[in-house]
């Protein structure tokens, strides 16, 4: 996240002081850094696709494989997109993994154990997500709690609620057909989840890039005090951000439980690192140093491609771990570079 915003501003050459654009004179090295910062992740993304396509020409560059990558990436995008909204405001959420589990557990348990109809169970799951986000937001934005610790603790609380609802038992029967259709059926050749993720992507992009609320959110991220003094409701908007993440996590809970038609305890934990990673990768594309939804889309696809490609190469698990971790670290450093240069 942008901790050293000041540093970039202090180094001011004579050109800028006179109000002339900095880009007017740039050394070769700076140009190279600029290109690397702006397109590094995109270049790596393309290179990766080419490499996998050559190495596994029979299975990787196929429509079937593309579809399966997209389907797997859909729930990941939903949560990474929601996360992008609060990262824009320099906030942080570690509880969404637990919200995913809570939503999945609530929906499935209410249908299977309590006989709720699937639309009611679905709505209840989404309300759980909204409520969790609102509590996070209230504790952090209005009461001033540190987001790192509050969301970590809230995650534990929410997992407790999840286990209370499900008895911490795997549930694989009693899930309504209508519910499983959501994650299992296709529309125009693509899994429903891909379409849902696409719609959410457009909504979040419009929110951040096209509305006053989005402008204000970026303003809060850039300088919360200046935003507050400009009359922006900074506390409310930060709370709203947490609600967006909560709702996004609940949607993911619904998607994964409908896709599998079952619930097993704590299904959300595996989303934690990749969701952050995708958003940070995304902050290194298109608008270096700034979290943005198109960037996050690329970030999610990037991770999906690596995951699938490395698996297809039949590499050992430890190699996959090494490569994935290394790529993430490089990408995050790239995004910092972008911040310095821009």
């Amino acid at each position: 996240m942008a901790v050293d915003k000041q540093a970039g501003g202090v180094a001011r050459g004579p050109d800028e002081a006179a109000g002339r654009p900095a880009s007017a004179r740039r050394s070769g090295r700076e140009t190279a850094e600029m290109i690397l910062a702006k397109y590094g992740v995109l270049i790596a993304f393309v290179v990766m696709i080419v490499v996998f396509s050559i190495a596994r020409s029979g299975s990787f560059p196929t429509w079937e494989n593309a579809k399966s990558i997209l389907t797997a990436a859909a729930p990941m995008f939903v949560i990474a997109g929601g996360l992008t909204v609060i990262l824009v405001m320099q906030d942080f959420d570690l509880s969404f993994g637990a919200v995913i589990g809570l939503a999945a557990g609530a929906a499935v348990a209410l249908m299977a154990n309590d006989g709720w109809s699937w639309p009611m169970a679905l709505i209840a799951a989404l309300l759980f997500g909204i409520a969790a986000g609102a509590v996070n937001g209230f504790l952090i934005s209005y009461l001033g709690g540190p987001s790192f610790l509050i969301t970590l603790a809230m995650g534990t609380v929410l997992t407790g609620v999840e286990f209370a609802l499900t008895d911490q038992k795997t549930i694989f029967s009693g899930v309504a057909r209508g519910y499983t259709d959501i994650g299992q059926n296709s529309f125009l050749g693509l899994n429903n989840m891909v379409w849902i993720a696409a719609v959410i992507a457009v909504i979040l992009w419009a929110l951040l890039d096209r509305t006053e609320v989005g402008r204000y959110m970026y303003a809060i991220g850039g300088n919360p005090e200046a935003a507050r003094l400009a009359g922006i409701r900074t506390r409310f908007l930060r709370l709203l951000g947490f609600v967006v993440v909560g709702l996004a996590a609940a949607v993911v809970g619904v998607l994964i439980s409908s896709q599998s038609g079952a619930y097993s305890p704590s299904p959300g934990l595996s989303f934690l690192l990749p969701a952050f990673a995708a958003a940070f990768l995304g902050s290194a594309v298109f608008r270096p140093g700034e979290f943005n939804i198109p960037g996050t889309v690329i970030g999610v696809l990037f991770l999906g491609v690596i995951q699938t490609g490395l698996t297809m190469l039949n590499l050992e698990t430890y190699v996959i771990n090494l490569v994935q971790g290394g790529v993430l670290i490089s990408a995050v450093l790239l995004s910092r570079l972008g911040q310095r240069v821009s």
């Binding site: 970039g8 006053e212 402008r215 003094l229 700034e290």
Partner: protein, 518 residues
């Protein structure tokens, strides 16, 4: 260098050799000459009063001696040896201790731990802190100060005045040969001040030199042997205190004894000011920050708020703007009380604040100039339709018109703000609020870091707002610009309103007299 007169060194005539000599010190900041061939000598056992208006260069001198700032040129001699002060620690080793005006303590440590911080704690077996020894030594120092403070108390539990005493104790505990006291008596009670003066005299007998900076002129006459008055980075007067009168001292500080620069012609006068009261503040209080502030602002007025740094001017207007909470008192707009709990409330009531620090409070440096300008009024640039969607084209058009109107130097409105010079960034702050339709405009140090032309533009802009029937509040540390623009000035000192001047009574000398408690 274009100095017309040679800087006079601080002549201090006692029998001793000077402990410390400064020669031809020059420190230049972009656009400002903070030290202009400053020179002076400080002898052992002498209390020297250092005076001057805000920005005269006092703090630069202190920073140089404290090792916090390196001069561009010139030399410092200690006991006749030229010496380069490498840093604060080195300054302490050389026998120079500074008690800064701002609290520089560590709130989560105890009084004793703060007093000996960085001076070396007494130890047992060389590695463990000797708590008993530490406590005893601190108690001795505190007793010298006459401060009944518990060495074990956490500094965070103390009042501001008590924390000042801790800072003083730290200065004493350093066993320095030169003790620099920067506004040591601000917020102290009379009894504590008496104690402090006693200590200064005692140090004097031990041949310790003291540089004493204060805004209380009475203190200068009570405690100092010599005074040095600074203006524009130079010493303009130095001599024995007993040869001076209070009036003479004020003249040296303002420079009014010499040819005073021609006063700017005010456009806002008693003839142009209306009768209607726009804003009234009654007994506004936030303990330790602003105490019982009451004033009113009429339609068409350009009201100045004068005071030395730390007098509580910015703090007062931040309370009015809802940027900080206040404990008691009331704010009235058009005679009706308004509840202001946030900047949003203030904006709705028709008050805008152009904050003091443009980088930290005024602007978003990563945003483009356009996005900064439209931020407070974004809803005015919507596309048609029910949704709150900004119309970029319309925003751009508006930004361009304001950029032209204020003559902001930028190639185009999409440039990131960080690329603009300080003065132009300040103009962007103005640009944000220009068409906000508010009744009250509060400008907090709007000309800070702005060049001469830019300053004149800023005065004109404030005057135009006032002449258009708005109420304008203008905070400045430069008395001259308050005198040149304001029809009325209120003066703050230590969080209180201590004076008010109107019309022809607003003058440099009168402001200095009231800012420096006489």
């Amino acid at each position: 260098m274009t100095t017309t007169s040679l800087p006079r060194p601080v002549e201090v005539a006692t029998g001793h050799e000077p402990f410390l000599v400064m020669r031809d010190l020059v420190k230049r900041y972009p656009g400002v000459l903070a030290l202009d061939h400053f020179g002076g000598a400080i002898r052992a056992g002498v209390v020297l009063g250092l005076l001057g208006k805000n920005g005269a260069g006092k703090s630069t001198v202190i920073k140089v001696l404290a090792g916090a700032l390196k001069p561009d040129s010139g030399e410092i001699l200690i006991d006749g040896e030229p010496i380069a002060i490498h840093g604060p620690h080195h300054a302490t080793q050389l026998g120079i201790a500074v008690v800064h005006q701002e609290l520089a303590d560590v709130p989560n440590l105890s009084v004793a731990e703060n007093v000996k911080l960085g001076l070396g704690y007494p130890t047992k077996a060389r590695i463990f802190v000797d708590r008993k020894g530490l406590r005893r030594k601190t108690r001795d120092t505190l007793e010298m100060l006459g401060a009944g403070l518990d060495p074990d108390a956490l500094v965070s539990s103390l009042s501001i005045a008590q924390r000042r005493l801790v800072m003083l104790a730290r200065g004493l505990a350093a066993n320095a040969r030169l003790l620099i006291l920067d506004e040591p008596t601000a917020s102290l009670t009379d009894a504590e001040i008496d104690h402090l003066h006693g200590i200064v005299r005692m140090l004097q007998e031990r041949d310790v030199s003291v540089v004493y900076i204060t805004h209380r002129l009475d203190e200068i006459f009570e405690i100092t042997d010599h005074v040095a008055v600074m203006r524009d980075g130079r010493v303009v007067h130095s001599g024995r205190t007993e040869e001076l009168t209070k009036q003479g001292l004020i003249e040296h500080i303002t420079g009014s004894a010499e040819a005073a620069p021609e006063r700017r012609e005010r456009r806002v006068t008693s003839q142009t000011v209306g009768d209607e009261e726009l804003l009234r503040v009654e007994g506004l209080t936030q303990p330790d920050i602003v105490e019982d502030a009451s004033f009113s602002l009429r339609r068409g007025e350009l009201l100045g708020i004068a005071g030395l740094l730390g007098a509580g001017r910015s703090e007062l207007v931040r309370l009015i703007y809802g940027a900080d909470p206040y404990a008691s008192g009331g704010i009235f707009m058009h005679g009706r009380e308004v509840a202001i709990g946030s900047p949003r409330d203030a904006l709705r009531a028709g008050i805008v604040l152009l904050p003091e620090d443009r980088r930290l409070q005024g602007n978003i440096v990563d945003f483009s100039v356009r996005k900064n300008i439209t931020l407070p009024n974004l809803a005015r640039h919507r596309t048609r339709g029910p949704l709150p969607v900004p119309h970029n084209g319309r925003e751009r058009e508006y930004a361009r018109s304001v950029i032209e109107r204020l003559d902001i130097k930028v190639a185009n409105e999409e440039h990131p703000l960080r690329h603009l010079s300080g003065g132009n960034q300040q103009k962007v702050v103005l640009a944000k609020w220009l068409d906000s339709g508010a009744d009250i405009f509060i400008f907090d140090e709007p000309t800070h870091g702005v060049d001469v032309d830019g300053k004149e533009e800023t005065y004109r802009l404030m005057e135009e707002l006032a002449l258009a029937g708005k109420g304008v509040i203008f905070i400045s540390s430069e008395f001259t610009e308050l005198v040149g623009a304001c029809n009325r000035v209120i003066v703050m000192r230590e969080g209180r309103l201590v004076g008010e001047l109107e019309g022809e009574a607003v003058s440099d000398a009168a402001l200095v007299e009231r800012c420096y408690a006489a």
